[in-house]
Symmetry: C2
Subunit: 338 residues, 2 copies
């Protein structure tokens, strides 16, 4: 922790600890995080308060937190310049959530389509927990706590950023003080990466993901099984490149543009088989993943370094949170005892 | 703060800081608090997180917190043996609220008629704040935090205690550890004191309250204006004692049973005027309030003692809360880094 304040603008971003990260996370978010981690002071948050689906299975949460931190280190996030933090390790998040919630009417949450969908799903199961209404407010508190200027997010999180901006404005106006900046969102290069099965979104639960931790052989097998162009029955049939997951991955992860263009040209003409396209994709993905695997091995052999990154980051974030809460209390004049 | 743990069982109870306390508070709650404050280790809580109606007017909350503490000292609560605490001064309340909320479905809250009524009222105004769902969970967290065994409450709060017991059982069962005792409720001698206007409940907002801080003259004027038996037009008409607010107050506050019985007998026979009944009631109330006024004057002249009581109590409660949260985290196994 530096003794002098960090002069950089701040980023707050994060994930829920629901398991290992995959290629979709990389192009949708991590890539930006890595790119911006020098320019900004970054707070990378693991949102364990917000894990509704298995709040009764903390062993899984515990394992996932470690997995996420390991993934972050593996992709090259640097805990020396940035802060890896566990949400519940900064209980000020709950405190700020509580206060902010008085000024947000339910209707404001219901404008968020992602939330509406989740809510409908829970209602079907007759099991909306009270905390369900807190978690979007908790996300607001997460962002406002370090006074983040920029929030790299997935596309489906844009309404949350809008809500955060609205709450920041409301707080500043109500207490006549510019406590919180209005954060800007930053969507990743590929807002939503298709799954290996052609589904619109890569996700663990759909079993259509290539994980950052997959080994070479697993990647090869997953790529071989990928959905391509369903209208193309033989290698000599002309194929479609547009909307074809295999070529979307080539575009996203194969830095050899000549190779990709050549494959596309031949694919359209029916002059290349799926096997060649997929073998080259697997090779590109493996080349992309190799340095990630190398760093992962390094940290896997040194779990104390992973824990230390979480410990140091959470501890620093708590110091920052306490400073923010002191300002919040001062603005609200709830320092009743002086 | 004692260096050795207090061996007494614990009480948690409190009020929202919505203004000065009145006779209804006394017979509904305070009387029990005073009676039990030696036998139990008492946590008297001022619930400033839960003030929805004027969350945008913290100056009023600030004033009310001081008023409530002054009222408590005036009635004889002893901050040496008990703890006066400000809810938001123990942010662990927000933290515990957050966790517990995952295991309480909305339906459980909706079973509470008091909440349902409040909710309906807010819906009419199209302004249900997100925090509305938190505050009942916050009350649960308030009670569980010091592991209270007994909760002296108003009658309308009984469903909240039932909810608290259910959450305690659920937590203990889920994490296979007896972290929280199931608290028992204790309703006051007079669950609900009628207002001076005959309304079912004395309350500040209905302008039918005699406050613990009212001076002699004010009490006399309020008693003179009291609603009595609407069927009795002249002092010589036979009157009704049952359901007559003036006699309800005599029963509650006049320790001279012979005088009360004599007045009742003559009232039923039409042999006493309202003036005599009311003058004697005012005298009894003023005799009851005199020692309270005396202590109030003492503390009014020494505001630092009031603040010190709040400061010491809140600080002690926070120590207790941190110990409870350590246990909660341990039971939930969310000491990820520990």
């Amino acid at each position: 922790m530096a003794a002098t304040p960090d002069p950089r603008k701040r980023i707050l971003t994060g994930v829920r600890p629901t398991g290992a990260l995959h290629l979709g996370h990389y192009v949708g978010a991590l890539e930006n995080w890595i790119r911006l981690q020098r320019e900004y002071e970054c707070f990378f948050l693991i949102a364990d308060y917000q894990v509704s689906d298995y709040a009764d299975d903390f062993q899984r949460v515990r394992d996932s937190i470690f997995e996420v931190a390991l993934d972050w280190l593996a992709v090259g996030l640097d805990p020396e310049g940035s802060h890896f933090l566990i949400e519940s390790g900064v209980p000020e998040h709950a405190e700020l959530t509580q206060w902010l919630s008085w000024w947000v009417p339910l209707g404001m949450l219901e404008r968020n389509p992602t939330l509406k969908a989740e809510m409908a799903d829970l209602e079907l199961r007759h099991s909306v927990p009270v905390a369900f209404f807190n978690y979007p407010m908790m996300q607001v508190a997460n962002i406002l706590m370090p006074k983040a200027h920029l929030v790299p997010v997935g596309e489906d999180q844009l309404p949350h950023i809008e809500l955060t901006r609205e709450v920041a404005r409301r707080f500043n106006r109500m207490f006549e003080r510019q406590v919180f900046p209005e954060p800007e969102p930053l969507v990743g290069r590929i807002a939503r990466l298709v799954g290996t099965d052609g589904d619109a979104k890569m996700s663990k639960s759909k079993n259509n993901a290539i994980f950052l931790g997959d080994d070479k052989e697993t990647v090869l097998l997953k790529v071989r099984g990928m959905y391509t162009d369903p209208t193309r029955l033989r290698a000599t049939d002309p194929g479609h490149v547009e909307g074809n997951p295999v070529f979307m991955y080539h575009d996203a992860f194969n830095p050899n543009e000549d190779e990709v263009n050549d494959l596309k040209e031949r694919y359209v003409l029916g002059k290349v088989g799926d096997v060649e396209v997929k073998t080259k994709l697997a090779a590109a993905l493996n080349a992309f993943l190799d340095p990630i695997r190398e760093r992962r091995s390094y940290y896997e052999a040194r779990p104390d370094l992973v824990r230390e990154a979480l410990h140091a980051g959470t501890s620093h974030a708590r110091t920052v949170a306490q400073a923010t809460m002191a300002e919040v209390r001062d603005a609200m004049r709830i320092n009743y005892l002086g």
